[in-house]
Every structure is written in structure tokens, then in C-alpha cells.
């Protein structure tokens, strides 16, 4: 077998579909880097997807996401399923480097045959929103099911990534703050179900009560997810002992079933497709606007005019030029 570096994208895709992990890993690298190869991978994979249940898992740092994922995926592997995890951690905005530590908590899952890929956010605007769907597609065509996308629920992009899945799980823990905090966090609104982790702590009952209250209010004001199939289930877990993890797995499976029965799965995937097109478009527009601004300040003819007008006026002038003459 030729080394992965010597093979074309279609050859790698065929190998990945045949279960070759190294081919899958290299395709993930191509998608993560973006550019021509990423487009080739998208071209070669997008018609073959749709078999995997895509699950988003998010929550505050230290809430036990990785530990929970490890126990959960080991159970899935024991049931004969082929789970994969895409674990996203932030890059340093200063150096572009990152410490990706999720595997430390998931050593037993690796040993049980779970495929884990760590990914840094790599800072570039919207990069995560571009790369994650493409990487999920690669894992999908490679036969993994379910695919768990784990992110730290701190930024809007992470929340969006979680929302762009079939089933969004939000992990909360005791000591996170009271009901007011729960309402503040936009992250709670995307949840299809909640895991109250570390629920062996005495104040876990308070978290559950606050979540129930929040869900009651969402129902009253109609501010839940528009495509929700049911009121989100709340599952109590203790990841370190495995308590409640089987219930969480059941609740996640039930959610998929409910989506299918309600005919909402395809609708959700359609929304996801639109969001992805928009992410790509925004990426292109951002690049074009950065170039236009550089040109406006750089070219002698433009520079004098630019110096003489308010920034908003310059922007509108550039926007008109971009939209009527996209090549410039």
C-alpha cells in the first residue's frame, strides 16, 4: 500500500471508505488546512454522506466533556458501533499554537478503538465553521457513527458549531452560577438535551431546578429552538464513575428517533447546509473586503480620496465597487 503522501484525494477517499484510518486522518488534515485540497475532498465526499448521527457536545471548560465522551464512546464501541470524536480546543490568538489535551482523558477510549481527532480553532475568522462540517463529512464517509463534535462552549462560533448538528448536548455542572447565569448564556438555548455532570455534588439538584425553570420560561416566551422536537431532556451524570452515561446515550438515541419520526432530521440538515454555504460565502467576502481595504489605502489615486472622507463612506464606496465588479 502506498504511503498516504503519495496518493490522490480520490484514492484516499476510496481507502477511507474501506476503513483505512490513515487515509481518513490525512483527509481530515486536508480539510482542516482549507484551500484546493479541501475543495477536492468536499467534491469527493459530499454525495456519500448522511449515514452518521452527528452529535454536538459543548459546555464550560472543566465541566467534564472529555471524561464524559470517553465513557460514552467506550460503551458505544462495546455495543459494536464505531464512534468518532472531533475534539476542538482553542488556539492561542498570539502565537497560533495550541495545547490539545482531550486525549489525556480519553486514553481508555483510544484503547477501546474509538477514533479521536483533536483540532485547534486556528484563529482565522470563521475557520472553525468552515472546517468542522467538512471534517464531519470525512468521518461520515469513513463509516463512523455516531460522530461527536466536542467544543468548549465559550464563543459564538462554538455555539454555532454545536447547533449545526443533529443532536446538541450541553454539559452543565453544579457551581456554574444561578438561574440568572443560566439565562445569560446563549449556549443553553441550542441544547436538545442537557447533561448535568458531577451530579454527585449536593448542589446538583439546584442546577436541575434552574434548568427546568429556564425551560418553563422558554416555553412561555416561545424562545426555545424553533426546530426542537420536544422539551430538552435533562440527564444527571457522573462521568468519573460512569453513572448516568447509559441514560445519556439512550436520550441521545431517542432524540434522533424523535427527529426522524417528526420528519425534522432532513429539515435540520437543510438548515445546516445553508449555514455552511453562508460560512463559505462570508469567508470569501471577508477575504475580498480585506483586499479591497488594502487596495484603497495603498493605491495613490484612492488614498487621497480615502483620507478625505469618513470611514463609513469609504466602506460604502468599496462595497459598491466589490458588488458591481467582484474581480477588482
Amino acid at each position: 500500500m502506498a504511503p498516504v503522501a503519495d496518493r490522490t484525494v480520490p484514492e484516499l477517499v476510496a481507502a477511507a471508505r474501506g476503513g483505512e484510518l490513515r487515509a481518513t486522518a490525512r483527509l481530515l488534515t486536508f480539510v482542516e488546512r482549507g484551500g484546493d485540497l479541501a475543495e477536492q475532498v468536499a467534491e469527493a465526499t459530499h454525495r456519500h454522506v448522511g449515514n452518521a448521527h452527528v452529535i454536538g457536545l459543548t459546555g464550560p471548560p472543566g465541566s467534564g466533556k472529555s471524561t464524559l465522551t470517553a465513557v460514552w464512546t467506550i460503551q458505544l464501541a462495546e455495543e459494536g458501533r464505531r464512534p468518532a470524536v472531533l475534539a476542538v480546543d482553542p488556539s492561542s490568538p498570539l502565537t497560533g499554537g495550541a495545547i490539545l489535551g482531550d486525549r489525556v482523558r480519553m486514553a481508555a477510549a483510544t484503547a477501546a478503538g474509538v477514533f479521536i481527532r483533536s483540532m485547534a480553532t486556528r484563529g482565522h475568522a470563521g475557520g472553525l465553521a468552515l472546517a468542522v462540517p467538512g471534517m464531519v463529512r470525512v468521518l461520515d464517509i469513513a463509516g463512523f457513527d455516531p460522530i461527536i463534535v466536542e467544543t468548549v462552549g465559550v464563543g459564538q462560533v462554538e455555539v454555532d458549531v454545536t447547533a449545526a448538528t443533529d443532536t446538541a448536548v450541553v454539559v452543565v455542572t453544579p457551581g456554574m452560577g444561578d438561574a440568572v447565569q443560566a439565562n445569560k448564556a446563549g449556549l443553553l438555548e441550542v441544547a436538545d438535551l442537557f447533561a448535568v455532570n458531577k451530579s454527585d455534588r449536593p448542589d446538583a439538584v439546584d442546577v436541575r431546578r434552574d434548568l427546568e425553570l429556564m425551560l418553563d420560561l422558554s416555553k412561555l416566551t416561545g424562545h426555545g429552538r424553533p426546530d426542537a422536537v420536544a422539551r430538552p431532556t435533562i440527564v444527571s451524570t457522573v462521568a468519573t464513575t460512569g453513572r448516568g452515561v447509559a441514560e445519556l446515550a439512550d436520550a441521545v438515541d431517542s432524540h434522533l428517533e424523535a427527529l426522524l419520526n417528526a420528519g425534522l432530521l432532513e429539515a435540520r440538515r437543510e438548515v445546516r447546509r445553508r449555514a455552511e454555504v453562508r460560512s463559505h460565502l462570508e469567508h470569501l467576502v471577508l477575504a475580498a473586503s480585506a483586499a479591497a481595504v488594502e487596495a484603497a489605502f495603498g493605491a495613490a489615486a484612492d488614498a487621497a480620496e480615502t483620507a478625505d472622507e469618513p470611514p463609513g463612506v469609504t466602506a460604502r464606496r468599496l462595497a459598491e465597487r466589490l458588488l458591481t465588479n467582484p474581480g477588482s
Partner: protein, 135 residues
């Protein structure tokens, strides 16, 4: 400034050796050098490291040893990667006497970093190891 595509490093303690403070410091140095560090932590085996290298499509492996096992475990790691068909260089960090350096180099270890190595040297050593691979 950040690389267009950051170097991906798998960092681990190989074998029975519970001292990981050095490895954590190295993880920070490499992160600050713009690399993505896939941190495996304590008590890893050649096979758990190979699983990680394979799934993460890593460019280089860094193993830390403070237990005098480098002459056994260093070549073991290099050979295990080669046997698995993975063309990935190995850098060792830890307490390595000077007289062992030629043996490790002959065994295919791409670089050795001793105690007190400055961050710039650590980053340069890993970069040099990856540059030898070229992909």
C-alpha cells in the same frame, strides 16, 4: 506569527515514569512556538502513541524520559513507528548523558533535549526534525 499550517506534535511520557512537569513546560514552549501540541500525558506505550500519531496525522513525536530508559525506549519508539509504516521523527527530552547521544542518533532519534534547554532551542529542534521529513 502563526504558521500557515502549524506543526502537529504528539507529546507523551513513554513507559513507567511519573514525572511530567518537564513535559508540561515543553508543551507550553511548543505552543508558544506556534505548534499544535497533542498532549497524551503519562504512562503511554508505543502502541498508544502510534494510535495518536495515526489519528492525529501528526508531524513529529516528542517523548520525555527521566527514568534512564532512553537507550531502551528511544530506539523502541523509532522502530515501532517504522514498523507501523509511519515516517514520523522522534525527539527525546529528559536526562540523557552525553555519551549516549551517538547511540541514540545511530538508532534514528532525530533530536535530544536536555534539562534547561531554552524554549528557542526546543522549538528549533522540533522544527528541524520535521523539516527532515518534508511533506
Amino acid at each position: 506569527m502563526a504558521d500557515a499550517t502549524p506543526v502537529r506534535v504528539v507529546l507523551a511520557k513513554l513507559g513507567l515514569d511519573g514525572h511530567d512537569r518537564g513535559l508540561k513546560v515543553v508543551a507550553r514552549m511548543l505552543r508558544d512556538g506556534g505548534m499544535e501540541v497533542i498532549y497524551l500525558g503519562l504512562r503511554q506505550t508505543t502502541s498508544s502513541i502510534i494510535d495518536a500519531v495515526e489519528q492525529e496525522d501528526a508531524d513529529v513525536v516528542g517523548i520525555s524520559m527521566l527514568n534512564a530508559g532512553h537507550l531502551t525506549l528511544g530506539p523502541l519508539m523509532v522502530d515501532a513507528l517504522a514498523d507501523a509504516g509511519l515516517d514520523v521523527p522522534v525527539v527525546i527530552g529528559g536526562i540523557v548523558p552525553d555519551e549516549d547521544l551517538p547511540t541514540l542518533a545511530a538508532a534514528g532519534v532525530a533530536g535530544v533535549l536536555g534539562p534547561g534547554s531554552p524554549a528557542a532551542d526546543v522549538v528549533a529542534c522540533v522544527r528541524a526534525a520535521v523539516a527532515g521529513r518534508g511533506r
